[in-house]
Amino acid sequence: MIGLPRLFFSFLKIGALTFGGGYAMIPLFERFFVHDYGYLSEDEFTDALVICQSLPGVIAINFAVYIGLKLRGGVGALVSGVGVALPSFILIMVIATFFFRFIENPYVEAIFMGVRVAVIALIFTAGFRILVRNRHPFGILIGVLSFLLVGLFFVHPFFVIIGMGAAGFLFSRVKEVSHDDVD
C-alpha cells in the first residue's frame, strides 16, 4: 500500500512539473501508478479515466481525488487533491503579484498584445479538436445551435449546457447511442 506522504509528493511533483493541464498529466499518472509501481492495474486506470471524463470539473483534480480515494480512502483523496493543486496555487499567486506590478510597462504591454492573439488561437484550437471528435450529424447540430444561442442570442452558457445535456439524453432514448460515439 502506498504511504500518504508518498501519495502527496507524487501528486505534488506531477502538479509542479506538468505544463498544459489535465490531459498532459494523464500519461504521467499512468506511468507512475500503473507501470512503475503497479498501485493500479491497466483496467482500474482506464476506469478512472472514463469516470473522470464523464463527470464535470478539472480533469487533473478529478483524477487525483479518484486515485487517492481508491488507494487510501477519504484521507488519500484529500492528500492527492491538495498535492496536485498546491504548486499551481502558490506559483500563480507569486506570478500574479509580479504581473500586476509590470502590466503598465510598455514592453510588457506590447508582449501581451501579441500573446492575446495566441490565446484566442489556443481557445479556437480547443474548440476545433472537440468539433473533430464529435462530427456526427447530431453533434454538428448541437454545436452549431450552442454557438448561435451563446454567440448571437447571448443565452447564458449554463442553460445551454443543461439544455444540450437534456437533448442528448432524449436523443439517446430514441436512437441507440453506442459507447464508441462518446469519447
Partner: protein, 173 residues
C-alpha cells in the same frame, strides 16, 4: 460577502463544466468578465496565457489567478475550492457505484449532447474575444498562422505563446 460570491460563482462553473480547462472558459467569460465585471477582457486573455505557461491544471491556475486578483489569498482560496467542490463530491459518490455509472445509458446520453455543445460554446467565446482583442490586420494574420500551427502542425502551445510575445514586441512597441 465577496468570498461567498466568489465561492458560489466558481462552484457553479465547476459543477457544469465537462472536459476541463478550456471548456470552462466560456463560463468564466460570461460570469466573471461580463456578469460580475471582475476582470476586463484583455486581463482575462492575459490570465489564460499565464495559466498556460505555468505548470499545473489550467482551470486551477485560472481560478487561483482570478480569485487572487479580486480578493488576494483569501479570494484565491475560495475560488479554487469552489471550482473543485461539486466534482469532488460527485467523484466520491460515483466511486461507490462505479459499475452502474459506467454502464448507465442515461449518462452516455447526456454526454452525447454535452460534448458537442462544448465546441459551440468555445467558438462563441473565441468569437467574442476575437472582436475585442484583435484590432488590426497583423492580429488577423497572426491568429490564422497560430491556429494552423496549433491544429495542423501540433506546435506546442507554450512555444506559440513565446513566439507571439516576441512578435508583439516587434509589431506593437
Amino acid at each position: 460577502m465577496m468570498s461567498i460570491s466568489l465561492f458560489f460563482t466558481f462552484l457553479l462553473i465547476g459543477a457544469v463544466t465537462f472536459g476541463g480547462g478550456y471548456a470552462m472558459l466560456p463560463l468564466f467569460e460570461r460570469m466573471i468578465v461580463e456578469g460580475q465585471g471582475w476582470l476586463d477582457r484583455s486581463l482575462f486573455l492575459d490570465m489564460i496565457a499565464l495559466s498556460q505557461v505555468t505548470p499545473g491544471p489550467v482551470a486551477i491556475n485560472s481560478a487561483t489567478f482570478i480569485g487572487f486578483e479580486i480578493q488576494g489569498v483569501v479570494g484565491a482560496f475560495f475560488a479554487t475550492t469552489g471550482v473543485v467542490f461539486v466534482p469532488v463530491i460527485l467523484i466520491t459518490l460515483v466511486s461507490h457505484y462505479q459499475e452502474r455509472f459506467k454502464q448507465s445509458k442515461a449518462v452516455q446520453g447526456v454526454l452525447y449532447g454535452l460534448r458537442p455543445a462544448l465546441f459551440g460554446l468555445i467558438f462563441a467565446s473565441a468569437y467574442s474575444l476575437f472582436q475585442d482583442a484583435i484590432h488590426d490586420i497583423y492580429g488577423v494574420i497572426l491568429f490564422i498562422v497560430f491556429s494552423v500551427l496549433l491544429i495542423k502542425f501540433r506546435v506546442h502551445p507554450i512555444l506559440i505563446i513565446v513566439i507571439s510575445g516576441i512578435l508583439g514586441l516587434i509589431i506593437y512597441l
